[in-house]
């Protein structure tokens, strides 16, 4: 049952086949036994159980709040949660207890969701591995899957079985791992340059980046205000649609959300794709793209073609400038957003008290890791009066060009773009850390960044296992605010590929109960 989709579990709750408290307990104990994954920074056991109890009362009364009532979820630790520590995996906010809930957190709680805890990330969401937070790296659950173990060749007998674990990708690695290892049924991540889609691909889960302005950022501790969006991680596309429905809509507390009314939708089963036009952007055949993924991408294109869809090659010519453009704009905003961390009002404060300036300097040196400090320095450099025109303004113009690439392509009749999400499957941690954060981010973000620059919705759909037995996903990018179309196509694709369920021993040990017989089947069951 733990491996089931949210919609199935929700049905089980409604029919009384499982109780919210039981579900919550199972998740909590699975979290404990998968502690080595380091997916969670804070587990809110007491409050979660209380929430589960409240949910149970509602179900008994026959008055559940909705599909999310009683569903255990996890939230990336850069979202404010009242009364629960919010750290952003940084020394700067260790011990920081926010007095308010982010809008998206509040919405989930209002729907009766059970908040299990806060998940691990790269410090302040800067990174593509979930390896650079102060609480240590997150381990990809697939490192411990039968599929991976079967394929991996041990280098020596005495080798520690743990040493070749692979990364989750990032920066929302904790959330992706939490969903992937069945400790929760949905998780919130954030996506600024690919931080939800990247770990989703590596962990074999669905990762949705909604259109900028659709979901409120109030309470999401910002990385790049003009690109950040809350991300949704689930085990299937239908679940993502459900969570999206409960989160989207105008928030008066966030002036960048659109005013239009949002209508939650249910995804229909697409049967006829002949009217669909799929674009394959040639620039996404990026340097470093593994031959495996290239082949998978090609196979996916053929899948659509054979089903009657129009599949054409398109061009997004400014793609290659997106990394430097992103670097300038991201670091500039980071320098600005991090200026508030001075130790005065909240967070870490250094003992240095000779003067205000020295206190500020020491606090920031002690509170931030090298990655954060590096970006602050770069950003401040680009914002200097003598540099502003050449860097910031220029980057804004390039950003406009990148966004226009998409406008042109979508304007020419293409409905959805199909691209890889990552350059390869997840690499071992020991290999990943050989290059620095900046290099890695630059490499890994190339396929996902442009959607953030243009504010477009994009989704990772787990597609197949690599030769090493690790997940590989493909990405769909849609038109602004056309999540319904995007998810409909993604759902169709998901159904075609039948991505296998992870075989985790830990989960098996916990999973005694109602759905035992479904353990080995594909999780893409028909809904009751």
């Amino acid at each position: 049952m733990m491996g089931n989709t949210m919609s199935l579990v929700s049905a089980a709750l409604k029919e009384g086949r499982v109780a919210p408290t039981e579900l919550c307990q199972r998740c909590l104990s699975l979290i404990k036994s998968t502690k080595f994954l380091n997916a969670y920074i804070t587990v809110a056991e007491e409050t979660a159980l209380k929430q589960a109890e409240e949910s149970e009362k509602r179900y008994k009364r026959g008055q559940p709040l909705g599909v999310l009532d009683g569903i255990p979820i996890a939230v990336k630790d850069n979202f404010n949660t009242a009364g629960i520590e919010t750290t952003c995996a940084s020394n700067m906010l260790k011990g920081y207890i926010s007095p308010y809930n982010a809008t998206v957190v509040q919405k989930l709680l209002d729907q009766g969701a059970v908040l299990l805890g806060k998940t691990n990330l790269d410090e302040f969401a800067m990174g593509s591995g979930s390896t650079d937070g102060v609480f240590g790296p997150v381990r990809n659950p697939w490192s411990y899957s039968r599929q991976y173990k079967e394929k991996s060749v041990p280098k020596s007998h005495s080798e520690d079985k743990d040493s070749n674990w692979v990364i989750t990708g990032g920066s929302s690695g904790g959330s992706a791992a939490a969903v992937s290892s069945f400790t929760c049924f949905a998780a919130l991540g954030s996506d600024t340059g690919g931080s939800t889609r990247n770990p989703a691909a590596h962990c074999g889960v669905v990762g949705l980046k909604p259109t900028y302005g659709l979901i409120s950022r109030h309470g999401l501790i910002p990385l790049v205000n003009s690109m950040d969006v809350p991300g949704i991680l689930t085990r299937c596309v239908d679940d993502a649609a459900v969570v999206l429905g409960s989160l989207a809509g105008h928030d008066p507390k966030d002036s960048t959300t659109i005013q239009d009314n949002f209508k939650p939708f249910e995804l229909s089963d697409l049967t006829d794709v002949s009217k669909l036009s799929i674009g394959i952007p040639k620039e996404y055949h990026a340097p470093g793209l593994s031959s495996e993924i290239l082949a998978l991408w090609s196979k996916a294109a053929d899948l659509f073609k054979n089903a009657g869809a129009k599949v054409i090659e398109v061009s997004l010519p400014h793609t290659r400038y997106s990394i430097v453009c992103y670097h300038v704009l991201c670091t500039a905003e980071v320098a600005s957003n991090m200026a508030r961390f001075d130790g005065l009002e909240y967070g870490h404060r250094s003992d240095m008290n000779k003067s205000t300036e020295s206190m500020y300097a020491a606090t920031r040196r002690e509170g931030f890791n090298d990655v954060v400090r590096g970006r602050i320095l770069s950003g401040n450099y680009f914002l200097l009066k003598q540099n502003y025109e050449n860097y910031f303004i220029k980057a804004q113009k390039v950003r406009r060009l990148i966004a226009n690439d998409f406008v042109k392509v979508f304007g020419s009749g293409v409905d959805i773009l199909l691209t890889p999400t990552t350059l390869s499957d997840a690499i071992p941690y020991m290999e990943f850390i050989k290059e620095d954060n900046r290099t890695r981010s630059a490499q890994d973000d190339i396929l996902t960044q442009a959607a953030n620059m243009a504010g477009l919705p994009a989704i990772n759909v787990p597609t197949a296992l690599s030769e090493r037995g690790l997940p590989v996903g493909l990405q769909f990018i849609g038109r602004s605010f056309q999540e319904k179309q995007l998810l409909t196509v993604a759902k169709w694709f998901e159904k075609q590929v039948k991505f296998p369920m992870i075989q985790l021993d830990e989960v098996k040990r916990h999973d005694h109960g109602v759905f035992q017989h479904q353990k080995s089947a594909s999780f893409l069951e028909h809904r009751t």
Binding site: H218, S255, S336, Y346
Partner: protein
């Protein structure tokens, strides 16, 4: 030498809540009691623009003859300081809400307010921005105390071009701006409460030569000090240059005790504020009647024309109306508007009396106002109400008392013992004796003492007055005496 004075004025917007958050705006509240999560820069909080602040800025822009930018932008201005929690201030550096206006103000040529000249200063722009908190340095305990109540309060920065040439002009311009803001209600503009802050930019140069290096003068706490600070700085610069020195482009503070400007300690070199667009606020779009979309909910937008139609009469218009309506002198209208509540008082009295406004104004400006000033009272605190004064003036008009007597009554009323003019007149026996027979008898009695000499007519009148303790109507007495003398 030519003296060049420009001003940067920060006016606190009169609104219930702050520019980007819902916390209250209130003077002298307990420290850190009016601080929202956003004001404290808690991570994840976002700015939400306060509509009332936008309207205040539009009103002010219109009153200052500015072009209102239908699209304006917000920016971040970065610097580190204890009273700036976010490490940046949200302001409008690239495209402010209003530009290219003008302000007319008047000066008296001499000190007697009898000759006024009108001057104009160009308004470069008006921008919306956040106020900072307050920090108090406690050197004894080596600590800084930070109060964020003021952090985030809305400000209008009004930039006046260097069209002024001395302290008096600067003071008059600021005074007029203050009156305009108070009339609009967009700011209460009380300098003592920090609602109006003025920084002066001063430089000097010889005619025909380029502008000199300018200094910025801060810490000016009243209009009077503004004039002093500007004049001092001008002199200081002239003296410095004439003795072969140079002027540094620096910031100086005005020391009101010493009456001079001194360099400010903590400005080390030029600051690079690393301006960046504020990404959490979309461009501010304003509409007018023409550009307003048909189906737009008018509560969701700010309509410049709608605001324009509802602007109250500005001080210059009010003054002109007063002069026209009541026949008073222009200088009078200035004094009336300069004192809070005085115009209303004046008009209230007019409504309740038959005395001509031209005469009433004398009582208002010479008697009432001087008493108020002597006792440091505001019009609101006046022990003499408009009703009482009108009553008094009516009796004077009806010739029930002489003007000398009226002054005496006024002095009595000022004690605020609750007596009416009539009561005071009776008590002090100040009524004019109007009855002819009475007066005839008195005159005859007096004449019985002195011989009927024409030359002493006036002396006789004086004697009659003395006899009657000033209550006799002198005109009537003269008539009667003459009649008697001619008999």
């Amino acid at each position: 030498p030519y003296k060049v004075v420009g001003l940067e004025i920060h006016a606190q917007i009169s609104s219930n809540s702050k520019l980007f958050s819902g916390s209250q705006v209130q003077f002298a509240a307990p420290p850190n009691s009016l601080v929202s999560f956003f004001d404290a820069s808690l991570p994840g909080t976002l700015p939400v623009l306060n509509r009332r602040c936008v309207e205040a800025a539009v009103m002010t822009g219109l009153a200052l003859n500015c072009s209102i930018n239908k699209k304006s932008l917000f920016d971040r201005k970065h610097y580190f300081y204890a009273d700036l929690p976010a490490g940046y201030q949200i302001t409008q550096q690239r495209v402010p809400i209003a530009v290219n206006g003008s302000l007319s103000y008047s000066l008296c040529i001499d000190n007697k307010m009898s000759q006024m000249v009108t001057k104009t200063v160009r308004i470069k722009q008006i921008q919306l921005e956040q106020d900072s908190g307050k920090s108090l340095h406690d050197d004894v305990r080596s600590q800084t105390l930070v109060d964020l109540n003021r952090a985030g309060v809305g400000l209008m920065e009004v930039v006046m071009e260097p069209d002024m040439c001395c302290g008096e002009e600067a003071a008059a311009a600021v005074r007029e701006l203050q009156l305009i803001l108070q009339t609009l209600g967009s700011s209460q503009a009380v300098m003592a409460e920090g609602q109006l802050r003025v920084d002066a930019n001063v430089s000097v140069h010889h005619p025909g030569e380029p502008y000199g290096v300018r200094t910025e003068v801060k810490n000016i706490n009243s209009i009077r000090f503004l004039a002093k600070a500007v004049d001092y700085e001008i002199e200081r610069q002239i003296e410095e240059l004439e003795s072969g020195g140079t002027i540094l482009n620096e910031t100086r503070a005005f020391d009101s005790k010493l009456g001079c400007t001194v360099p400010m300690r903590d400005k080390e070199g030029k600051q690079d504020y690393r301006f960046m667009p504020e990404p959490n606020l979309p461009p501010l779009i304003l509409y007018n009647a023409r550009s307003l979309p048909a189906n737009m909910n008018h509560q969701q937008v700010v309509n410049i024309d709608w605001i324009h139609e509802r602007l109250p009469d500005l001080p210059s218009v009010k003054r002109a109306k007063l002069v026209e309506q009541y026949g008073i002198l222009p200088e009078h209208s200035f004094t009336l508007l300069n004192e809070a509540g005085l115009t209303e008082f004046f008009e209230d009295v007019i409504k309740q009396t038959q005395m001509k406004p031209k005469k009433v104004i004398g009582w208002i400006l010479n008697d009432l106002l001087s008493y108020l000033k002597q006792h440091s009272l505001t019009v609101k605190e006046s022990p003499v109400s408009s009703f009482l004064l009108a009553d008094l003036l009516n009796r004077l008009e009806k010739k029930e008392i002489s003007s000398t007597a009226a002054k005496q009554v006024f002095a009595e009323l000022w004690k605020g013992e609750g007596k009416t003019p009539l009561e005071i007149v009776k008590e002090k026996k100040l009524q004019l004796i109007q009855d002819q027979e009475d007066l005839e008898r008195i005159c005859q009695a007096v004449m019985a003492i002195k011989s009927g000499n024409r030359k002493v007519l006036n002396k006789l009148i004086g004697l009659v007055q003395r006899e009657t303790q000033g209550r006799s109507n002198p005109v009537l007495v003269k008539q009667l005496l003459e009649k008697k003398l001619s008999e």
